[in-house]
Symmetry: none
Subunit: 199 residues, 4 copies
DNA sequence: ATGTAAGCGAGACGGTACGTCTGGTCTTATA
DNA sequence: TATAAGACCAGACGTACCGTCTCGCTTACAT
């Protein structure tokens, strides 16, 4: 029993930041220790010393919680590479993503988010509306920059981003987040050289 | 309820093909009706009139079952396109895959297989060893053919396959299996034009 | 929902009669619609547009609230019968009670009060100190009158009241509040004829 | 975690008596230690080392469980008094019942059963169909015997039983299970002397 | 010809998690 | 200082599924 004294209490009719932080920290911890396999709202509540309804109040879907854990993870802050050549930038970006996922809560969170979305309509919406746009910003940033330099046709940006994302996710989902430089470099060069214009 | 009389019995110390068929049909049915969300061994056993241990005996992981349902689905038999130009072939292939997944048991099975692999080590192994090689045959076939024609460098085949697969999976996982011809054609042209050789 | 404007506010450092009335009305309403099964402080607060702490301030136990709802119910005002013969009076009284309980908030309130007292020491105190003496007034009134007329020995009043109350409660608790005239008349005659003096 | 070894397992497609016994013992224990207030299916399952679904499988209502605990309690085996005079018999019976309830699991179980029936239709059915007939056997036995001796009119048996039961329950529900000999004797004499025939 | 090994349906088992509900307490902002 | 509002922890609710186990039966194969 958590001592009656150090129990976190309501701070009035508004969200308690301490609770929010405790829940996110607990979720992160669970993912770090046991991966998505060990992730459950019960376990998070237990560790956070929070009530389950409190969690469901603020994160109605587990996907919401996973997405928030993802972005809260410092590791998931992808630095935008600025070398000036698309192939190099994409390679750097890919290595950043895979490195950020390797053994980290963020990686487990994304795996969980994707898994969740396969069985849960609401999670799919979260993935689509809340996660994806924000997550792909760096990718679209690098490609946009390349387009401004003339390395990429603007009309190709979207599909290049999708190919690049697909590659990263496939690697994550199949458990290959190791730093496979040869593969990454080749993929980066492939994408950098690709042209989608109809001939 | 299977009448007491026509209950399927053991046929001796070997696998009963009728049971196997009933289980696969039931699994397929569940996936068709309720998707991966409604998929559970209990439900499959119920519908198949089979005992749970019987299912676990032959498909130790749900991933095993999902993979087998996938390949048993007629829709998942991807015809190898033979038009002679890589971009066209890839586009046809992509449309075949997405069409096969759209609203089909196979699509739900693959979504489930991928989801399963995120929380279950054994499922990841199934995905990796039993599913992937067989599943990607058509992709590697088309790319190999193109390499033979000189449209693709042999050293690019692997990563092109991965990019192509990643794209398809991303579309499946985010629920976009609609026949988006513009996107598919563009992706196909991008991949067909890509070169990974170091400059 | 109480509009933002007509929200009930504090009227200073004293109980707001409007709040009190709203809470009692809401409690009554809940009991009428869903019986004791649907009775919860949350639901009452919701309907009354009151805060839970406000309710707990004035009715520290749910039993307090239930008891007050009971007595506030017009139906629970039992008219004291005055026919002059004990058996007839008791029968009239019993029919009054059972009729007052049949499908009424008062009936549900008493059922709830008794249920509450089985798991909650404080509720038992309320039942014993606040509810019982007031509730049994009519019973003791009729018996006292009969004693004054010589129909009953004064020393029997208490236990006769208990027997009579027990009968009514048993009927309530087992869901038999229908107007079973034969049974009621017989019970009334049994009690009217009973003598407890040691022989 | 209960050691993997001494975990109680299924014994095939039929009820495991060891589980049944463990659950009943645990329920009894909870009631003895914490009364009905501390009674919850979760707690019973925890103590019994049983799964909640197992409990709900065999006792769909908490009332079912409470009733079974009641009758399983040795204390609840009421010896049928045989002194030959109704007043004496009834007094002995009343003292047996109240004594059996005093601080015992049976008492708590009955309090709980009655409470449960106030909020739960299914529990009311259990009380009415499964509990009452069996519980009141001794009462009807004593009254029937008296009728055979001519001390009671057969037509009065039913209502006398109800008055007697109502008295005992009222005492239980209001927490008065002490051995109040004066009251018990007087009630017994009142009932023994009562006549319900219409004059 | 018979013993035995394995498959089978059935379904109970302990366990965990689900998502919801309520209890009773606390704090704030408003009046 | 009371009020409405509503957040907070706690923990129970009843259900679904997991993967394992045991039963009682049936059949085929090896002796």
């Amino acid at each position: 029993m958590p001592g009656e004294k150090d129990r976190r209490r309501s701070i009035g009719a508004r969200r308690n930041p301490a609770t929010e932080a405790a829940v996110l920290a607990a979720a992160r911890e669970v993912l770090a220790e046991a991966g998505y396999a060990g992730f459950s709202v019960d376990e998070v509540a237990r560790r956070a010393g929070a009530g389950k309804p409190t969690i469901y109040r603020w994160w109605p879907n587990r996907a919401d919680l996973l997405a928030e854990v993802y972005f809260a993870d410092r590791a998931a802050r992808i630095p935008e590479p600025e070398t000036g050549r698309l192939a190099t930038d994409l390679a750097a970006l890919a290595r950043s993503y895979l490195g950020a996922w390797r053994g980290s809560p963020a990686g487990a969170a994304l795996r969980g988010l994707l898994a969740e979305a396969q069985a849960n309509e609401a999670a799919l919406v979260v993935l689509w509306e809340r996660f994806l746009p924000r997550w792909s910003e760096p990718v679209r940033g690098v490609l946009g920059e390349a387009a401004r330099r003339g390395e990429v046709e603007p009309g190709d940006i979207e599909m290049l981003a999708e190919l690049f994302s697909g590659f990263l996710w496939l690697r994550l989902l199949t458990g290959q987040t190791d730093d496979d430089r040869a593969a990454i470099d080749r993929v980066a060069r492939l994408l950098a050289s690709a042209r989608g214009r109809k001939v």
